[in-house]
Symmetry: C2
Subunit: 283 residues, 2 copies
DNA sequence: CGCCAGATTGACACGGCTCAAGCGGTGTGG
DNA sequence: CCACACCGCTTGAGCCGTGTCAATCTGGCG
């Protein structure tokens, strides 16, 4: 569709994930001390089984994890992906049984934080409670965006949007090099995250490639034209609620009174100033 | 599809929404006092505009509200519906600008809770902070289920699932009479909440009607066969995290190693013991 | 009685799914 | 070091669930 300069990425100042973004050294230490063990796990390991009882949170320190849901007809759906710094199963903070499972998509390391210790931390370190609140609400916002994708975007837009989101999230935690990053998902897993079929994801990926927008192969994604790719899917940074994004990227106000499923305008191709810093490695 | 007895509804003991479910009189009073004004609003009123700055939460006391998102192509998407007892814009607890708007679907009343007062309350009344946490995580779970619907369920299953969810949520706050309830959404709004088209929602509704599962007309939904309707869409109570549901309705463990998009079994038709109690009317 | 938003209906197009075959890389056992 | 197996990627053909477009109908309401 849109052509465009091989634009740079959105100008992010943030260098840490939501959870630790606003914590000082003391609080980060307290959080680290509260964690039980640190587990090194291999790809395919289930951190949590769907509908099984649980009483601890899993904070992903390295690698990728996915929440998954086996639907009533046996199909699988992936409602969320976790990258370093994310919490795999935040709901365990209040609920003893979750209706999704968590599995590792790559090898990695995970910190286990017992629910009771988390509550204790909240009581003594308000800043930590704050950090968890921000994380929970940001997650909420991402879920909303994913739902919107499945409900109102085409296959190629969904794929493009996911790739854009992941680039930004990975840049923030220092896991993206330039415009590319390791993407350990199979096409089938991408399909499960987007409500598509692996066959169609394959075709869509080829289509995006042929437009010189992005290449995904050998478990690595390389974005060739950020401006065009983000314009194609209407990607806007605002929903990620990164507190330290440059003003120039403040979201534009969309047309106010729109009807269901219709035309429109717009295009945004912010420029990015990559930054880095290991995730919760300090933990 | 499935025939079945005009089953009763799931056996719920809960009589209050998440927010006030575990608050004692003192805390409820504190919450009420913290709220600024109570606004009486008419249908169509916008409580919050998409991408506009905000610094207060809107607690819905009566009526229906919807979060909406205008997509880049001008189409509309509704990521959440609020019924009495729900918070329309929980994200405002931490973020000063939300990428969704909130509009009233019916006339109603809303309590406005300034963000700062909410934070103050959390510091002094741990039980209230707890209540908000539960609400946030439950909302998260509902969003996940909606995303799963859009990603992996057919049109009729989506419609059925939404109608099931709403019945349960309304029973809990005493707004459902027997197996029916007022549903102030137009078919177009239902379509926007399900990622469908109003034309297709219309056809789907007629189809469900012809199967004697449910009737939706004149802004009222009447479920004729709960057992069959919930079986059709694989509705399970667990994702709503109602703490006081009878054990007999504990979710069944789904088959463990499923592939993307395939066969399966299952059917659940719990029996419901309606209960009532006005939402946050005490506020 | 006239208007209008919302509900209906029909005809038709198309995006994405299904089914099925074939290919390629990689790990493993002989 | 080769042969096989297996998993994930590709590709083709055809189908079908939903969307699109366009009337027409209906119930409320002024």
């Amino acid at each position: 569709m849109t052509t465009a300069s091989a634009g740079n990425l959105p100008g992010l100042k943030a260098t840490r994930p939501w959870l630790s973004a606003n914590l000082d050294a003391a609080d980060r230490n307290a959080l680290a001390r509260a964690c039980g063990d640190i587990r090194t796990v291999s790809a395919g390991t289930d951190l949590l089984r769907q509908d099984a009882p649980t009483n601890a949170l899993h904070i992903l320190l390295d690698g990728w994890a996915a929440r998954y849901k086996i639907m009533e007809d046996g199909s699988r759906f992936i409602p969320a992906l976790a990258v370093p710094g994310d919490i795999c199963d935040l709901d365990a903070l209040r609920f003893g049984q979750l209706d999704y499972g968590v599995t590792m998509l790559s090898a990695g390391t995970v910190a286990v934080l017992p629910r009771q210790r988390a509550d204790a931390l909240f009581a003594t370190n308000p800043a930590i409670a704050d950090a968890f609140w921000s994380l929970a609400l940001a997650e909420n916002s991402i879920l909303t965006e994913w739902a919107a994708s499945m409900g109102r975007r085409s296959a190629s837009q969904r794929v493009a949007h996911l790739l854009c989101e992941l680039l930004v999230r990975l840049v923030i935690v220092g896991k993206a090099g330039g415009h590319s990053y390791d993407l350990p998902l199979t096409q089938e897993q991408i399909a499960d995250a987007l409500g598509l079929t692996s066959v169609h994801v394959n075709r869509t990926l080829h289509s995006l490639r042929s437009m010189n927008l992005v290449t995904v192969q050998h478990r690595r994604a390389t974005i060739h034209d950020w401006a065009a790719l983000s314009a194609l899917c209407g990607f806007r940074l605002s929903y990620l609620h990164l507190e330290t994004v440059d003003d120039e990227f403040a979201p534009e106000l969309p047309p106010s009174g729109a009807r269901s499923r219709h035309r429109v305008t717009q295009a945004s191709g912010p420029t990015l100033r990559p930054s880095s810093t290991s995730a919760l490695s300090a933990l």
